[in-house]
């Protein structure tokens, strides 16, 4: 009964993963130079590749900023729209809209927000007499600019999980806490937060994966520029694989990327799991 699923899994997940690892030890085949075993050569060229290191550095900053910001924002929004108030449905929808939009469309919208001299940010800045800023065209602001887009896109998605979790928490807990005289902050810290822990773990794992997986907006907004300031690992991998056709090296980067992600996910599950109440 499980055979069809197993076959699909093997053909599309296990075999490619193993083949990628093998490819990463082989040279890139060319018409007159077949692929040969080169050992760790591809990994050695990775260590010598300054763009790889820059992409890795960019990606770490990107992850460090997007993960806490998007998760924190999601929790805050969920707590807010969970309360009873006028226009709650509308607010929830507004927060969720960025998630529904395709990333390509989002990136194009933001491209015009960031446009120098007449973009939205410039117009708002102009009202307050702020100097003109070329957000995406300046090495010091480009990475932060694309990070903001990612946070904007992701927070709404994570909010849905928090909202669902909040609604499954029994209202009697809140009443009991109120009778005991617990303040709102105390209630959040000692009751809500621990009960939300399983959701937080799930959201965190997703946020980490997304931080290494989202590149659509880079393709649309900066193509990794200026001078690699916004090149993320996956974007660099795409360039090596499908622009330079350097299959062996691309496989090596893939192995490193997947290895990193797997390690982080495992650590999250084992360490954070101990702190969660199911």
């Amino acid at each position: 009964m499980l055979l069809p699923a197993l076959v699909l899994l093997a053909a599309f997940t296990h075999y490619p993963a193993v083949a990628t690892i093998i490819d990463s030890f082989m040279s890139t085949p060319k018409p007159n130079r077949p692929s040969v075993f080169v050992g760790l050569d591809n990994y050695a060229s990775m260590i010598e590749d300054p763009i790889f290191w820059q992409a890795l550095r960019n990606n770490l900053w990107f992850a460090l900023a997007t993960i806490p910001l998007s998760v924190g924002l999601a929790l805050a929004m969920a707590l807010w729209v969970n309360a009873r108030m006028v226009g709650r449905g509308f607010l929830r929808m507004a927060y969720f809209t960025p998630t529904v939009l395709p990333m390509i469309a989002v990136a194009n919208i933001w491209l015009f927000f960031y446009t120098p001299t007449y973009g939205l940010l410039e117009q708002i800045g102009g009202l307050f007499g702020l100097p003109s800023q070329n957000w995406l065209g300046d090495k010091s602001t480009a990475l932060a600019s694309i990070t903001v887009v990612a946070v904007w896109k992701e927070a709404g998605f994570f909010m849905i999980f928090y909202l669902a979790a909040l609604q499954s928490i029994s209202p009697s807990l809140r009443e009991a806490a109120a009778i005991e005289g617990a303040g709102r902050w105390f209630f959040f810290r000692r009751v809500l937060w621990p009960l939300l822990m399983p959701t937080t773990i799930f959201v965190l794992v997703n946020a980490v994966i997304n931080a290494f997986r989202m590149v659509d907006h880079v393709v649309v907004m900066t193509r990794g520029g200026p001078d690699n300031a916004t090149s993320l690992l996956l974007y660099h991998l795409y360039e090596v694989g499908f622009k330079y056709w350097d299959q062996g090296y691309a496989a090596a980067i893939t192995v490193v990327l997947i290895g990193t992600l797997a390690t982080v996910a495992l650590v999250q599950f084992f360490v954070l799991d101990k702190k969660a109440h199911y």
Binding site: A11, F12, Y15, P16, A19, T20, D23, K30, P31, N32, L111, F112, T115, P116, T117, Y118, G126, G129, P131, S132, N134, L136, G137, D138, K139, T222, R223, G225, P226, D227, N228, A229, E239, G241, F242, K243, Y244, W245, Q247, A250, A251, T254
Partner: protein, 429 residues
């Protein structure tokens, strides 16, 4: 990645078997990939071409397949080629010639040029458009959708600034001087209108090549094995570009987005812009003011790179398919059709004969700016292209962006780019 190719190969093989069974014995199938890189209903035009061609040639069935951007199309074509079943023909960037040869994916067009008529046809193209497709004494690509860089200027803003609206700058010095008059600042000292704008996102090397050609230097040798990024003339050209912003303040600082440059022009945020002729139809229909199109100004001489796509024929197709694809290429580039294609899209019609057709003559008379790109062709050079093209080009792009964003000097940026290019090209010498 190899794994993925294997699976795709399987899928394609299945489709291919299906196709062979279905096709009747006499009909030659020609799958044809094409990209869309400019505005307008391009797919509709291409489908119409294929339908008309198939009607005239009942034994051939050209099947056009829209494959995305130029980059998407070469990814698909080369992936299919590695899998063993590439398209029979495809439109790809003229600068992809070296890559396609190195991958052993295409055959020279000369293989099919046999009759006197064929020879006259191949000799009929503008020489500038053939350059990128000519390697090792052979012609590998047929010019199809080709463009070049031109300058657009806003006549209204020229008038406001006290300049003659019908006289665009002819030299670098004039461009700088005019741009200074055309740059406006508000009370707080913020620039609200720039004199000139040359985009630098994505593929800055293409526009930079305009500057280097004008400064009388060619960026690479014909064999595609040697670059000259650290030539003093190249550094000088880059310094001029940087100075427009840093020294004169007439050009926006940092990286200027390619995609929004036509919009900046239409919004009157830039009085003069450099961009492709392919934007002509777009700007013509959206600009609410009188504008002009001019050749790029001269430095030491006139110059501009060509750009756009060539028609290639793949090696792994059967001889019958290749012959059919050649017939289609020849049919597509007949003067009347090339003229029609140029009018519909804004691409430069690829042969002098096309410009002699009634349709194009009438179009040019109604809209004289359309002829500027053609007249500039006599000064045009091949678009920058080498072996391992995308990587070498990236080294140049990175260097240009580093200099334009101020993180390196022009000299350091070009020397670094040259060092990287030499490392990449070592194995091709």
């Amino acid at each position: 990645m190899k794994c993925n190719f294997t699976i795709i190969r399987g899928a394609i093989a299945t489709v291919a078997i299906g196709a062979t069974v279905n096709a009747s014995a006499q009909v030659t199938e020609v799958p044809f990939y094409f990209p869309v890189a400019v505005g307008g209903p391009i797919t509709k035009y291409i489908d119409q071409f294929a339908t008309d061609f198939n009607k005239e040639n009942p034994t051939i069935k050209v099947a056009p397949i829209y494959a995305g951007s130029y980059q998407d199309t070469i990814v698909k074509a080369l992936t299919a080629n590695k899998a063993g079943t590439p398209p029979v023909a495809s439109v790809l960037l003229s600068t992809d010639t070296f890559t396609l040869i190195d991958e052993d994916a295409i055959v020279p067009i000369d293989n099919f040029v046999k009759t006197a008529d064929d020879k006259a046809w191949l000799a009929g193209f503008y020489k500038a458009f053939l350059l990128n497709g000519q390697v090792g004494g052979k012609t590998w690509g047929v010019p199809f959708q080709r463009s070049t860089v031109v300058m657009y200027w806003n006549k209204e803003l020229f008038k406001e600034a006290g300049l003659d609206p019908n006289k665009p700058p002819q030299t670098w010095a004039e461009m700088t001087a005019m741009a200074q008059k055309l740059t406006k600042k508000d009370a707080s000292g913020k620039t609200t209108q720039y004199g000139v704008q040359i985009p630098s996102s994505g593929f800055p090397y293409w526009l930079f090549q305009g500057l280097t050609t004008q400064n009388d230097v060619i960026l690479s040798n014909e064999a595609g094995t040697q670059t000259k990024f650290d030539d003093p003339k190249v550094i000088e050209a880059l310094q001029y570009w940087m100075d427009l912003s840093k020294k004169y303040g007439v050009h926006p600082g940092g990286i200027v987005e390619w995609g929004t440059t036509p919009k900046d022009f239409m919004e009157k945020k830039a009085a003069m812009i450099w961009t492709t002729t392919g934007n002509l139809t777009n700007i013509r229909s959206n600009a609410k003011f009188d504008f002009g199109v001019a050749m790029l100004p001269t430095g030491k001489k006139r110059g501009s790179p060509t750009g756009g796509g060539n028609f290639y024929i793949f090696k792994k197709a059967t001889p019958a398919q290749q012959a059919a694809a050649f017939k289609f290429a020849k049919w597509l580039t007949q003067p009347e059709r090339a003229a029609q294609w140029g009018i519909e899209t804004g691409y430069v019609a690829v042969s002098p004969a096309a410009w002699d057709t009634v349709a194009l003559k009438k179009y040019a008379a109604d809209f004289p700016p359309a002829t500027v790109a053609r007249d500039q062709l006599q000064y045009a050079v091949a678009e920058f292209s080498t072996h391992d093209n995308q990587r070498v080009t990236k080294a140049l792009n990175d260097g240009l962006q580093a200099a334009l964003t101020g993180s390196k000097t022009a000299e350091a940026a070009m020397k670094d780019a040259q060092r990287e290019a030499e490392r990449l090209l070592k194995s091709y010498k």
